[in-house]
């Protein structure tokens, strides 16, 4: 199921009702079954997300390393809160749980890329480099 949902998400951008119904049909299972799976996993999105999906780790080791400051800076720079997307559709921001990067925190993931040992300067540079 997950490999098919990944393909569908790559194709449609997100897993809305149409995509869920389509996957249910080709998998030969009920829509409810697919809906249950989609809503269970954080990496499957039911809404469109920004071109650059920024996920900042908030769990204890990153929090001890100063993750709150990093999140606050990104919120201020982008003018959005966690869970929101900028009006131009360029950035989405999410606070997420541990990404197995605890020794190199604070860290964030932008789409599939890890950015570790973050400082406020480094975050500013990364945000500027994202087109």
């Amino acid at each position: 199921m997950l490999p098919v949902l990944y393909l569908a998400q790559a194709e449609f951008g997100y897993l809305g009702t149409d995509a869920i119904e389509y996957v249910a049909k080709i998998m030969g299972v009920s829509t409810a079954r697919v809906y249950g799976v989609v809503t269970f996993y954080t990496m499957l999105n039911m809404k469109p997300i920004g071109r650059h999906h920024i996920q900042v780790c908030r769990t204890l080791p990153c929090a001890l390393a100063g993750a709150e400051k990093i999140t606050a800076l990104i919120k201020a720079k982008l003018g959005i809160d966690a869970g929101e997307t900028t009006s131009d559709g360029k950035f989405s921001l999410l606070e997420v749980e541990c990404l197995a990067s605890c020794g190199t925190g604070p860290m964030m993931q932008v789409n599939e890329d890890y950015h570790e040992n973050l400082t406020e300067e480094r975050v500013t540079e990364i945000l500027q480099s994202l087109k």
Binding site: L2, R33, T42, M43, C102
Partner: protein, 424 residues
Amino acid sequence: MEKILLRNVDAPESHTLAAYRSRGGYRALEKVAREMSPARVIEEVKASGLRGRGGAGFPTGMKWGFVPKDSPKPKYVVCNADESEPGTFKDRLLIEKDPHAIIEGTIIAAYSIGSHTAFIYIRGELAYASQVLQKAIDESYQAGYLGKSILGTGYDLDVVLHRGAGAYICGEETGLLSSLEGGKGWPKVKPPFPATHGLFGCPTVVNNVETLAALPWIIDQGAAQYAALGTEKSKGTKLFSVSGHIRKPGVYEVEMGYPFKRFLEEDCGGVPNGRHLKGVIPGGASMPVLRADEIGEVRMDYESFQAAGTMLGSGGVIVMDETTCMVKAAWNIARFFAHESCGQCSPCREGCHWMEKIFWRVENGQGESADLDLILNISGNIMGNTICPFGDAAAMPAAAFIKKYRAEFEAHIAEKRCVISASG
């Protein structure tokens, strides 16, 4: 100490087949294929004393021995690479730097139980690690270590890499199997255990990345060499991921039984900025915290951590210095478990959110004097009352933070503010 698990990670191009082979890689598999029966491999792993490195510490050879030999159903090996325990990043290092050790270990495990299909279930977020691992699997197929008649033995094995999609509970072995079967990652009631009723109802062995990565060395060097390391009941070496307020964070390989205080102060360089240690979580966020005054005599093995009232767990060591607010730390961990509870069992689904909310109000000056006992009550009602160990994993740290730093919690309630940091 000779490194076993980290023996290759610093070598140039260590993730490639050429580098792995030049350092003795796949020698163990050749030995297995040439001269060892499946039963002999299981005996060797039993003799090594290797215990599961995912957190529970169950003897690996014994786990394999539970798989019925005469079952008409297909058998599966599943490598648990869904590393998600807060404070733990050792498996990610092994996957990115030494993927062939994991693959070789997986083949040895599959051969020993007579499995012809193995799955590696990797965290969805680990995109780069997935690419590295898939390339290594492809290389193994080309070299004849995977596929039909491996090394001319007539034994066939396929390895399939499967990405998760963001759910901590899929690190729990039966939750992982539910996810692999195409559903929500809901854990299953045990018994029956996966050894007899696992993936798609078939006999299945689920082993952690670190467990499988230890196998090539054990087979190549012999069980006796491995069993000579460590303590009487905790054999060999273990990886520890070190994070938080520590001078040299990172992944360390430690012989079981090594003094914990010496490890933190000498190997990891101690707490930086001239500050003092306040507490340390030794085995990932689901394990009880130890106060600085409790670590003096503790040694780094399953039994010693247990005797100290905590557990070795995943070996995720989270270090907190004197500036850390323990209420906020407890709230952070409670929030993690509230977010990650799969929602199947009521005590965990409801209790994790209640604990998170109560910790939050204590931290933010709205706590009441009965709140601490209320959390202990909720924690006690979750413990042992859920299908999988997640409930215990959420309940244990919550209770430990309150029991060990009660005065700090009470000060928050009495002064109606965070008494540690001005920002609260």
